[in-house]
């Protein structure tokens, strides 16, 4: 049995060596993607171009503009002379935000019963910079509002202390986005790599016409699956360690928990994705079909890595569905071990879920591998 498995695995490695660009592409491409995403998301959004239409031209209006610039979120791109040109630059996407200060701004501000107003237009087509800009504007306006209120009460704003909550963030003290996004990206890349290699395992033989030969050889279904799985497992695991080292070294994602536990659970997760890939492999007629199925499944799973939207923030039905997505459990485990130093006592339910999902999917591929020609 071992001889046969090894013979098959060795053959698969020979294919990999001849198609070396595929593993190379997955390893290097995946790591590059991780670097790019990590870098792009680890920085706060700054220097959004801002244009101002100042009808007031007073010291007060200039203070407002300066306060906005001082948030760091905006960079003053210039002054507009009229509304039409402002609209035009928003349309062209030259600026992300526009501020319109009315002619009586300073007067309203100074009057004891005045209602100073200011109009802000944000480019909502790019919603993430827009919400960042909104937060900055709100901060500035709230602060100014407090000052105005205090001045009207004839108090000195500099000497007044308001509500000062003491906020502390656990597990990610600096609220670095990279600590959240890079493990998700890592999980996603790992999933794609393993799925793809597993999915090509049988579809490739079927397309080349060698599958029949393989099926009449004295391999049992289990031997076929294990022999085919070994190379995908090796590639997937190599990928995992490269990406983990990168996430740790480049983006300062801490490794707080047990590395041994992470090792064992990563192995389990790779096995689950592998059996998923083998199912895709067995049901698709060509390599192209298998590849497209991998994309489809991968993109659906992507939703549940908590990358774009945290699973906890999803509608109930989707949260329920997340239980059946291995990537969801894996990301919870990965983040738990890396950031919170969680152990099996906390993660057991997710480990159990992975085991169950793996058993079901593996059984499915095992039952179907011999019916591949039917």
């Amino acid at each position: 049995m071992l001889v046969r498995i090894w013979a098959l695995a060795k053959k698969e490695f020979l294919h990999l060596r001849h198609d070396w660009w595929l593993p190379a592409f997955m390893l290097i491409g995946g790591s590059m993607e991780l670097l790019l995403v990590g870098w792009a998301t680890s920085r706060p959004i700054t220097n959004l171009p801002l244009r101002v239409l100042d009808h007031d031209r007073s010291p007060a209006s200039r203070r407002l503009i300066m306060a906005l610039e001082n948030t760091g979120t905006f960079e003053l791109d210039g002054f507009a002379s009229n509304m039409a040109s402002l609209r035009d630059s928003l349309d062209r996407g030259e600026i992300n935000a526009a501020v319109i200060i009315p002619p009586d701004y300073a007067k309203q501000l100074a009057s004891s019963i005045g209602r100073p107003t200011v109009a802000v237009i944000l480019n909502g087509a790019e919603s993430i910079p827009a919400s960042e800009a909104l937060r900055a504007v709100e901060g500035v306006v709230t602060h100014l509002g407090q000052r105005v209120a205090l001045q009207r009460l004839r108090r000195e704003p500099e000497r007044f202390a308001g509500f000062d909550p003491s906020l502390r963030v656990w597990f990610n003290e600096s609220l670095s986005k990279a600590l959240y996004t890079t493990p998700a990206e890592l999980g996603l890349m790992l999933e794609f790599t393993v799925l793809l290699f597993a999915a090509l395992a049988f579809s490739r033989e079927r397309e080349l016409g060698t599958l029949e030969q393989l099926l009449v050889m004295p391999f049992s279904s289990a031997e076929l699956i294990i022999g085919k799985a070994i190379p995908a497992l090796v590639v997937g695991f190599t990928d995992f360690w490269i990406m983990l080292a990168m996430v740790h070294a480049v983006f300062d994602v801490p490794l707080r928990g047990s590395l041994l536990l992470l090792f064992v659970l990563a192995f389990l997760y790779v096995l689950v994705e592998l059996s998923k890939g083998l199912v895709l492999s067995v049901i698709s007629r060509t390599q192209h079909q298998a590849f497209l199925l991998v994309m489809l499944v991968g993109m659906a799973d992507f939703m549940f890595t908590g990358y774009a939207v945290p699973v906890e923030g999803m509608p109930r039905a989707l949260q329920f569905l997340a239980n059946f997505v291995p990537a969801h459990h894996w990301l919870t485990i990965l983040r738990g071990i890396l950031l919170k130093s969680a152990g099996l006592d906390v993660l057991w339910s997710h480990v159990l879920a992975l085991l169950l999902l793996g058993a079901v999917v593996m059984t499915f591929s095992w039952r179907f591998v011999r019916r591949a020609l039917d």
Binding site: R4, L8, T210, E212, Q213, L215, V216, M217, P218, L373
Partner: protein, 313 residues
């Protein structure tokens, strides 16, 4: 194995794919050491039948036995004892000759010593000694087929299934391939081979014709000729065979010539009819009427191709 038992037994095999019946009640036996030819046009159900006998497809109805073992229950015991060359090339193109043979040998559990010995024999048999490190895709079609056969018999199977092994292979390579098959059969290997080539069919000890999923004839080449083709064939050698064929077909449509199968064979025409010799005069008349020279006419023994084409009507 029981000496009385056929090496391959197919009993009322049926395979339906949805509404389409690919194989419809096929039964035959192949005795040990025989070369059994399976003939039929494309899509007649040859490959589906072989796949059912090998256990790759589950029959809709009927059963198959190989070496006295039921395929449905004992596929795992049968697999190590049979060899198979599928219709499409069954080796790995990106692997070298040696890597392919090693994979086959290991898969069938050959020891190092056995593998080395069999590898040498296989390379001799395929005429590939000294080219072990050539990638399979760089071999020409004929060499590849011989290598595929050598690989399929590396583990010394008792039964060999070959699905159109010589399709697209040049005549010299085909001859070399059949020489290999003869020596295997002489060693007692049972061979089931499908083919399009009628000259190859003549090499088989027994033949089965399959058409639209049904066996239309089964027996030795002589038996098949006798059963399907009573009497000889009239061979014409006109100066312009194409024009003559058209003239004769027109004459048939006009009712000036009794019904008969007229087929073009190279520069000759074969006329197949129950009493072909009686057609000499009407044919000569029809051709002369069309201004053509009938040329010599001879009665000849029907070839398998005549039989095959006649049986397909």
């Amino acid at each position: 194995m029981d000496a009385q038992r056929p090496a391959i037994l197919a009993q009322d095999l049926v395979k339906r794919f949805g509404d389409f019946t690919a194989v419809n009640g096929v039964s035959f036996e192949v005795q040990p050491g025989q070369i059994f030819g399976f003939l039929g046009p494309n899509g007649a159900g040859k490959t589906t039948t072989i796949r059912m006998i090998l256990g790759l497809l589950k029959p809709t109805a009927g059963r198959a036995e190989v070496l006295g073992l039921p395929v449905a229950q004992a596929a795992a015991q049968i697999r190590p004892r049979v060899g198979y060359m599928s219709q499409r090339f069954s080796l790995y193109n990106d692997l070298t000759v040696r890597q392919n043979l090693t994979f086959f040998g290991r898969a069938y559990g050959l020891s190092d010593a056995e593998l080395a010995e069999r590898m040498r024999q296989a390379l001799d048999m395929a005429g590939l000694a000294g080219r072990e490190h050539v990638r399979t895709k760089d071999l020409s079609g004929g060499w590849r087929q011989r290598l595929a056969l050598s690989a399929a018999v590396l583990h010394r199977p008792q039964v060999l299934f070959l699905d159109e092994p010589t399709a697209g292979v040049d005549p010299v390579s085909r001859r070399a391939f059949w020489d290999m098959l003869y020596s295997l059969a002489a060693e007692g290997v049972t061979v089931l081979v499908t083919t399009h080539y009628m000259d190859e069919a003549e090499h088989c000890q027994r033949l089965a014709f399959i058409q639209r999923g049904r066996l239309t004839a089964c027996g030795s080449p002589e038996e098949i000729k006798r059963s399907l083709m009573p009497g000889p064939v009239l061979e014409l050698a006109p100066a312009d065979a194409g024009a003559a064929l058209q003239a004769l077909r027109r004459a048939q449509q006009a009712g000036r010539l009794p019904p008969a199968e007229i087929e073009l064979y190279g520069s000759r025409l074969h006329v197949v009819a129950p009493e072909a010799h009686r057609l000499r005069r009407p044919i000569a008349r029809a051709l002369k009427a069309a201004g053509l020279d009938p040329g010599p006419m001879d009665l000849i023994e029907p070839s398998l191709e005549d039989v095959f084409i006649a049986s397909m009507r």
